[in-house]
Symmetry: C2
Subunit: 392 residues, 2 copies
């Protein structure tokens, strides 16, 4: 698989702009789908990175089945655009269950997530409330996954916890549709070797499969075993017992993924186009008109092997300039300097006032969220504009 050379950024773009390189995007989408096809599992991409209909349509065309969302607004937006199989992968707040049911009644197969008996009871109460109102019992149904904690990282119940069966029984006996289990090994972001990544992927798989087995052994339904994160999805050596994988940031990749080791710089599809607005020769600084408002405040590489500050600097055509980073940022000012701290007066001439540069982000989910649309450099060399949704 080869990646087309990046296109030049059209002069008409106002800086800062979120540049999306479509050939690189397509490379990333194909790479992940092919891996999942080879491993024999379905891919349910997480749309929280791009929040963009055009990206999700391309994932679906390549074989993705269903989508994962991080907010109800994403669910509503993507349902309106023709995506009707949606997992809302954040533990459900009881106050949101009426909105979930409203979306389901419109025909959206929206599945929610719980990790406690209290949340399961809230779901059951919502089903009971709905049954009193619904003409057909099917209209009152709520489909649910139980969140499993396989890496001691965030939410979820441990695969061997007694409460897992309590949650399953509460849902099943209470009239909710228990669809299965899901886990997300967020700790994979702190793995830096292929061995550690493969081990984390296996830990994620094994824990989720174990939880599914316990539910089934207790006579409870569990058709879905859903795992995933970009690092584990790209590192898993086998996925026996898993039915679907979720991954998000792989669509764009970013410097955090480069540090983790699952992407190369040449695979990063998102960058921020910026213009030089000034110089501080005494400090070795080049100032650009992209600050933290454009890059986000995400400093995800700060604790990684290579700290890129607020981003890695490329020339206007997208060629990385080794060692040049955005070392600090104010709201609309970015300070570019050499990562090793040397003061280099030659930078001032090399990057004269008005020069345009691209900045690769630490964390694509956070940087993309600062923009209302992408300026897309398409494969045929034309410029397109793809909207993204934000907010709740």
């Amino acid at each position: 698989m080869t990646i087309a050379l990046s296109q030049a950024a059209p002069a008409s773009l106002i800086t800062p702009a979120a540049l999306l390189d479509e050939p690189r995007l397509m490379h990333n989408l194909r790479r992940m789908q092919q891996r999942m096809d080879t491993l024999g599992v379905a891919l349910r991409p997480h749309v929280k990175t791009a929040k963009c209909i055009e990206v999700a349509q391309r994932q679906r065309a390549l074989g993705a089945r269903g989508i994962t969302v991080s907010t109800l607004k994403e669910a509503e937006t993507f349902f309106d655009a023709g995506f009707d199989d949606i997992l809302y992968a954040v533990g459900i707040a009881p106050g949101k269950l009426d909105a979930v049911r409203a979306l389901r009644q419109r025909g959206c197969r929206l599945t929610v997530l719980v990790d406690s008996v209290a949340a399961a009871e809230a779901v059951v109460q919502a089903v009971v409330r709905a049954e009193r109102q619904a003409e057909r019992q099917a209209d009152a149904a709520l489909e649910v996954l139980i969140e499993i904690d396989t890496d001691d990282h965030r939410a979820g119940v441990k695969p061997d916890a007694g409460v897992l069966l309590d949650i399953g029984r509460t849902l099943h006996r209470g009239g909710a549709v228990l669809r299965g289990v899901m886990t997300h090994a967020g700790a994979s972001y702190e793995c830096y070797t292929s061995e550690a990544l493969a081990a984390m992927a296996e830990q994620e798989r094994a824990g989720c499969v174990q939880a599914a087995g316990r539910l089934r052994a207790a006579g409870l339904p569990c058709p879905v075993v859903s795992v995933g994160s970009t690092p584990t999805a790209l590192s898993a050596r086998r996925l026996d017992g898993v039915t679907e994988v979720r991954a998000g940031v792989y669509v764009f990749h970013d410097l955090v993924m480069v540090n983790v080791g699952v992407a190369g710089l040449e695979e990063l599809a998102l960058s921020v186009l910026a213009s030089v607005i000034g110089h501080r020769p005494d400090k070795g600084w080049v100032l650009v008109d992209a600050g933290w408002m454009a890059m986000s405040r995400d400093r995800g590489t700060q604790t990684q092997p290579v700290d890129y500050g607020y981003g890695a600097v490329c020339d206007e055509a997208g060629q990385p300039i080794d060692g040049l980073v955005m070392s600090s940022a104010n709201q609309e000012h970015g300070v570019l300097s050499w990562r090793d701290g040397r003061i280099d007066p030659a930078l001032m001439e090399r990057f004269a006032l008005g020069t345009r540069l691209r900045i690769l982000p630490n964390h694509a989910c956070a940087t993309a969220a600062q923009f209302g649309h992408y300026a897309v450099l398409t494969a045929d060399g034309t410029l397109a504009q793809w909207e993204r949704m934000n907010g709740w």
Copy 2:
């Protein structure tokens, strides 16, 4: 001046939501305007924090003259809403001068900023290009301030630098309208005593006044002497020679300003309403549905005397819960725990599933930018929605 008790958040709000307490906002606006009136200078508020027409209208009604913006899109949006005296306070990129001129031709008195001879020459070239096209020479004019560096912090020329006069002459002789000088003492954010703040305010004032004096002594016009930041504006003891003060974050204040010492927790007008979605009793964690996407990734208090993590937790009515913070965050998950690290199982019962809480932000400019509108708790107890603009 008393601050009204904060209103309860309406149950209809979907979490996370950006809650804006209007009585607190009005208190903050009055406090700043009264200070500027007492010091005998005009207030030109920076709209980059709220990016909200309703907020700027209230500032103007209290006496503010003109506005400051951080992007051209802000200039366009606020001009369309009736604000026609605008300072674009980021060094101008040459590629943006045509857009500046287009806005001026529509009647907007938009002033731009330069801090180098190269930028001054770009402005002059734009004026010359315009004169060839314009029917009246006045239509080609560009008004310019020179940025002065009074705190060795970011952009600008030193008050005593020879290049200051070169820039002034380039502009004045080239046909641009040299309106004066401006500075921003961003280093005031790192001051923590009233003495240090007052000294920084005096340094900011004295440096900018010195630069103005040098331009005038060289026979160049300099009617405007513009200084400001929220900490220095609230700490200056005199502003002799200054014509206007710019400040932004004072409209909402935030935890960074509390640490700096220019605001109290009870003056923070912006918070994020969140719902409890889970618990980790083994870790002492309460999970909420506001993560870094809602709070932003800003960790501005990390290097300050009190580190609030991703925010300070209040009850639903806005009463701070001393010591409880958002200690970590994922995209749509926030982890609440005691700041001292103790594991407290009682938190789980105190904040049951579905409980709503408010989180005070580190940095209001960054947190507000994550939202498309504010849910406004008005003085009369009703809920209003005020839009904000984002993007470029």
